[in-house]
Symmetry: C2
Subunit: 242 residues, 2 copies
C-alpha cells in the first residue's frame, strides 16, 4: 500500500495524510473509534511503530485522542476543549468562566465585502449573520457578530431563530458535520460605538478589545468569521507563548 523510496516522503507522513483524508471525507465522525494501531499496520503493510508515529502527530494536533486500553478516537468539541483552546477571556484571577449567551439577531444576508474576502466566498454569496451578547458572571461583557457561509450551514438561520446553544462549535459539529480545528485571530483596541455602548452598559468611546477570528476546518477552509468586542475592565484576553 505504502512504500518508502529513497528521498521520498516518509512513510509516517504518507500515513498521517491518508488518515487525514479519511477523516476529512467523513468516513469517521467525531467520537468514533478508528482501527487499532495493529490493524492499520497490517492493512497498510507497515510496522506498528510507523502507524504509531503518524497517529502521535495527529494527537498533538488535536485531531485524534488516545485512550489507553480502549483505542484511538476522532476528537470532538467537548466543553473542555472549547474553553481551553477557543475561549481566551479570563477574569482577574486568571480563571476562565463559561459565559452565558443571548442571541439578538440571526438572519440570512448578502455577504459584505469583508465577509467575502475573509471567508473566501464567491461574490454575491449569502451568509448567516448572528449577533449575540455574552455575559460573564451575569454582566454583559462581550458582543459578538458571527458570519457563516450559507452553503456550509444549510437549513440554518432561515427564520430569525434566536434559540442558539451557548457553545456554537458543538452545534456546527453535531448539526452540520463541521469541526473547527484551528483559528486565526487579530486583536485591536477600538472605541465603543453608541450601539455597543448601549448593549454593554458603557459610555460610547470606551476602549474595547476587538477580536476578529477566522475559524478553519482540518483542511484549512474558513467556515466562520467572528468579531468580538470585549469590555476588558474586569477581564482580559489570556495568551501563553511557548
Amino acid at each position: 500500500m505504502f512504500t518508502h523510496k529513497n528521498g521520498a516522503i516518509p512513510l509516517y507522513i504518507q500515513i498521517r495524510e491518508f488518515l487525514v483524508a479519511r477523516i476529512s471525507k467523513g468516513e469517521w465522525l467525531p467520537g468514533d473509534i478508528i482501527p487499532s494501531e495493529m490493524q492499520l499496520a497490517q492493512e497498510l503493510d507497515v510496522s506498528q511503530g510507523t502507524v504509531r508515529k503518524a497517529i502521535t502527530e495527529l494527537v498533538e494536533k488535536n485531531v485524534l485522542t488516545r485512550r489507553q486500553g480502549r483505542g484511538t478516537f476522532i476528537a470532538n468539541h467537548d466543553i473542555r476543549r472549547a474553553l481551553f483552546h477557543f475561549f481566551h477571556i479570563s477574569d482577574k484571577a486568571g480563571h476562565k468562566v463559561l459565559p452565558d449567551s443571548k442571541a439578538l439577531y440571526c438572519r440570512r444576508k448578502k455577504a459584505t465585502q469583508k465577509e467575502i474576502s475573509k471567508l473566501q466566498l464567491a461574490p454575491g454569496s449569502k451568509v448567516i449573520r448572528i449577533e449575540r451578547i455574552r455575559f460573564l458572571t451575569d454582566k454583559p461583557t462581550i458582543l459578538e457578530t458571527i458570519s457563516l457561509p450559507e452553503h456550509f450551514f444549510n437549513e440554518f438561520g432561515k427564520v430569525n431563530d434566536c434559540s442558539l446553544p451557548n457553545m456554537l462549535y458543538e452545534l456546527y459539529e453535531q448539526q452540520f458535520g463541521i469541526t473547527i480545528h484551528s483559528a486565526n485571530e487579530e486583536l485591536r483596541a477600538i472605541a465603543a460605538s453608541e450601539h455597543d455602548a448601549a448593549l454593554l452598559n458603557l459610555e460610547a468611546g470606551t476602549p474595547l478589545l476587538e477580536i476578529e477570528r477566522i475559524a478553519l476546518t482540518l483542511e484549512k477552509t474558513p467556515v466562520e468569521l467572528r468579531i468580538s468586542r470585549c469590555n476588558t475592565k474586569n477581564h482580559h484576553y489570556q495568551n501563553t507563548i511557548f
Copy 2:
C-alpha cells in the same frame, strides 16, 4: 543509571528531566552541541530510541535544535525565533516587521507592588526599569515599560544607559545567561494617557492595546515584566489557535 520499574516514571521522561537539569545548571550554553544520541544512550545505559524520544520532546518545546548530520544543540534566541515566537504585532497584510527601538529611560528603582507580585520578588527589592518607544515603518507605534529583577541582571542599569539593543532577549541570553523560554500575556483595551498620547502622536483617550507579558525561564522563573501599549490603527496582535 536509569531504570524503568513497573508503574514508575517512564525512562524517557526521567532522561528528559535529566537533560533539562543539566541545561538549567548552565552545563551547556545556548548554541552548544550536546552529546550524540548514541553517546547519551551508552552513558545512561538505555537504548538510542529512548534518548531520541526524550530529545524529541525538548525539540518540540524549543529547548533543543536538531541538525541532521551535525548533532543536537541548545536552542538560542536568534532574530527569527524572537520574531516568530515572541513578537505578535503584524501589519494589515499580516506581515511581521522588525521594529526599531529607542530607549527613553533606564534606571534602578524600588519595585512597585505590582512588580513585586508579578515577578515574585521579596518586599523592598529593586528592579531595573526601562521605558522605550518602538517604531514600525518609522512611525511611533508601541510604548514599552520593562521591569527586570535586580538580582538576575547585575551591573545593568546602574547608570541611565539608554544604548540598548533592539532585541532584548538576545542581550539577556548573551550578557546574563538568562534564556526566555515561555511567556504569559494578558491583553486589554485601555485609553491613552496624556503621556502615551504625546509620545505616540495621538489624542489622549485613544484606545490602545495593552499587553502585559511575564517572561519565564525554562524553570518557569519570572524574569521580566513587560507592559506594551500599542496603537492598533495600522497594526494588530496576531494569534493562531491550534
